[in-house]
Symmetry: D2
């Protein structure tokens, strides 16, 4: 029998960086968790234990802190591009680098009516993420919001679905809609204002969630995607994953009480998951071209 190594990569994960920048009295804090993954000419480390092309993952970790000190950047996308370019240009044996960065969100504490200069509050499960991929032909930037947790108490229903012998769920025209939104978008332009786009995406999602009279999680997902693409010209497409965090009415009728749609069992499992990808349609022709320039919206 013969067998072969047909794919390989390696890198460093969970490199945690805090960078403090001081502009006079006003400080900023950037807290990133960085993951580096390299592909290239590493086969002989697998097949012969020859590590001569291997950049130690410990050196990758050092590089994160060194590049953070040497460069100014205002968002994870910029820092990801710096790192990806470094690894591909520094080492001939590296064909491709993928950098994933998760940013912990720190917000200035409101103090005496204005945002404090150097004190922050954090602790949200919501995360801002990016993935920067660079190989010989292409630089690709994706960004994401993870675990944006929202809930609304009305303007959400679910009727008209398939009823067969496996169905016990009643129809409802007024249910609690709670979800933990994950969304990932692809830029058509790797040089745009990433912070502005990030803020716009988040704002459009929340605005749509508030306004939308939901006939199903699927329909609300579509509305969010369309709102984002209208508002953000630099985005080619956006993917959503929306778990349906069910609030199940507790049946009070078993206790001779009236069900008034007020008392719910909060559940973690099982949960529905709805996924969808919305794309700018006149931008479908040639994605490689698009990533070099702006989307033709």
């Amino acid at each position: 029998m013969k067998c072969a190594l047909v794919r390989n990569s390696y890198g460093k994960s969970a490199v945690r960086l805090s960078k403090v920048s001081r502009n006079g009295q006003t400080h900023t804090i950037q807290e990133y968790c960085v993951e580096i993954e390299l592909e290239g000419d590493f086969d002989k480390s697998y097949t012969a234990g020859d590590n001569s092309t291997i950049v130690a993952t410990d050196s990758m970790k050092n590089t994160v802190y060194i590049l953070a000190a040497e460069n100014e950047f205002t968002c994870p996308e910029q820092f990801g591009k710096l790192l990806a370019k470094h690894f591909v240009s520094q080492y001939a044996q590296v064909d491709a680098a993928t950098i994933r960065i998760t940013e912990a969100i720190w917000q200035r504490i409101e103090h005496e009516g204005r945002p404090h200069e150097h004190a922050f509050v954090g602790g949200s499960n919501e995360r801002r993420k990016t993935k920067v991929s660079l190989d010989s032909s292409q630089l690709k930037v994706e960004s994401a919001i993870e675990a944006l947790s929202v809930l609304k108490t009305t303007n959400s229903g679910f009727v008209g679905f398939v009823r067969d012998k496996y169905t016990t769920l009643p129809e409802t025209t007024d249910r609690v809609f709670a979800t933990n939104i994950d969304c990932t978008w692809t830029y058509c332009d790797s040089e745009c204002d990433f912070n502005q786009t990030y803020a716009l995406v988040r704002e459009e999602i929340l605005r749509t969630f508030c306004n939308h009279n939901s006939l199903g999680v699927q329909q609300t997902l579509q509305a969010m995607g369309e709102a984002v693409l209208v508002a953000c010209p630099h985005i080619l497409e956006i993917d959503f994953t929306m778990p349906n965090q069910h609030r199940i009415p507790f049946d009070l009728s078993r206790f001779n009480m009236e069900n008034r749609n007020e008392i719910f069992v909060t559940t973690s499992e099982p949960f529905g998951v709805i996924k969808g990808r919305i794309r700018r349609t006149n931008a479908q022709q040639d994605q490689r071209q698009l990533t070099a320039g702006a989307c033709n919206s």
Copy 2:
């Protein structure tokens, strides 16, 4: 050999309740995770498998939803008191009930310049908690904030500590101070405005964190405790646990670069933990008396 059951209790944990209250167009959502623990005449279930005094934990769960439907309440402390009184009064064999409630924090989404009527954003690790204990002689209410995550980039130092052969930590007059505050306070008055006190505690902690020129986590803890006791007349004492979430300077000098106190390694472990309890001093004489009335501040 003889042995005996010298202590026992049982109950239900992780009873998850969402209650929607509607005041015209304006809705509120209360999301509680409830734990019930009962003590009483249950020995024979342990020693003889005789369950005749046992209230099934499944019935406790039902009771949470039934009492939530039958009663109005605006905070976990009130609901905890309702539950504790129910179990002690309903069942002769129950001597004491302890109710622990964790509230998930949902904030109204800012929409068109004002808080939305029925749409909320959540997802924080920060939690509001309460513990209500009732036995024949006493009702005791404790409340807590868990995992209030804060960070400041200056006005924090640590010097003058013990230096001996086990010491390698350098002194610093300017370090990042990050912590995840847990604090628990005891009310001297079980009938006060719990929501107001909760908001005041949180505000005083954040205000102190912003203003305090910290010579150590211990000193900042003390300052927070004093500020809370000054602001909140219904609180007898407050306990803090403050993990020191170290940001360790990455040593750039190994790479012939200057250390400018900007680049840090974010660490999860190991971590320092600082604890302290601050008490209203003219209130120390007789705690039992105090819990019946207001603190003599």
Copy 3:
């Protein structure tokens, strides 16, 4: 601007099933966590809120329990195939079904020198998983072991890697090697004995880990993959992800003590990650053909 839904799917996650099977006095327990994901003609639920083709995820949940009751199966792969075939055949609008199952591992308690008939011990983070994908043209079965945690205290080194200005890691010929193996394999035959293959994969990985004189995680990964492919004729290829859970020597020389390679700091982050895919090479010609029959080893 125009935009379109270019991809969608939905389903139910975290459907948790325990099935007890009784063969006289001897009982078995199967504990599965099931995820169902369907693709098909669902676009109008996204674009128009028309749910007429939507099988409620609650009905999918019911189906898991109903099919578990109606059928006998001895492994998650079999149950995954049952579920996938059900959804694709039952609903004309369903084009493809993907079933993911995670099995919690329960082992019989050793009691009086033999495995007990109905009492089990569990609690491992290690999981057995499967993913069954069915569309009109193809049934594909993948299986996996997740989080197989192993450590060895010698026969592991790391030398000869790139040294440059980013490098501080010393070479070592004797280090602790600890990892949490994730591996996923693809079957060339969807009708084989999945339990036997699972047991063989696990055995070959552990055997190789014990025997291999490791010159790097990469080399050990390759050796494991080759051992699995030699032992398991029904496997086409196997993917490994191996985090390097570093034990970093604590530098005692700072305290005038000798470093004897005994005292280590256990770390969670950052961590190296090594990935590789090993494939049966004379099986590369036509994967579609292979999945219908046995691999030509």
Copy 4:
């Protein structure tokens, strides 16, 4: 208003140590997570920012590794005693030290019919723990098993409990009994063979779980406690916390199918919790005396 610091302590948590000991070809690995908490004359660090009595928590961390290198020990209890004695004797300002250690369980891999000399498998959620407390008057050793996960498919029922208007749970004479046992025991003798006692406790718990015909979790808890006290003469008392990890029968009758007690919904929440403490009774007279000598069993 006056207020005072009425209690304080501080220390280091999550100090993670791996120690490799080599006896010829046979290696052992001890992996401990250590927590140190000191009480003493630290008030002025809180009230005045005067850190002159403060041993830096970073120095505590160093001490863990230094003492691990300087000493031989075969169990966490021994290492905890070494650490507690160190801090109390080394620093005049330290009145009391509490050391908590959690051990990760690594088992030798079975290889060619025998336990391997230096390769181990881990990954269990089950943990061995200890808490050693030392103050001027007393050394106290507690040990614990955390998250011992067991399940049995029969010989468990629950009948005869209170039925009232809050009750919907049906009685059952044959249910699945699953729990995640936490137990903590107090030694009457701080010099005994801790490894032997640990092994005996675990064995007696599993043996009882297998044999006991359970009329309720409470009764099984009591049986386990009695079995442990009979088998282990060095234990004064043992505390159990046993969550009832419910497997709820899925009601197939809604689908015109027979309920045969085979198909269950595995649930995480809500869950019952049963607690109890069993004590050696002729050892109750004077606990202080007992902790100095052996229990009079």
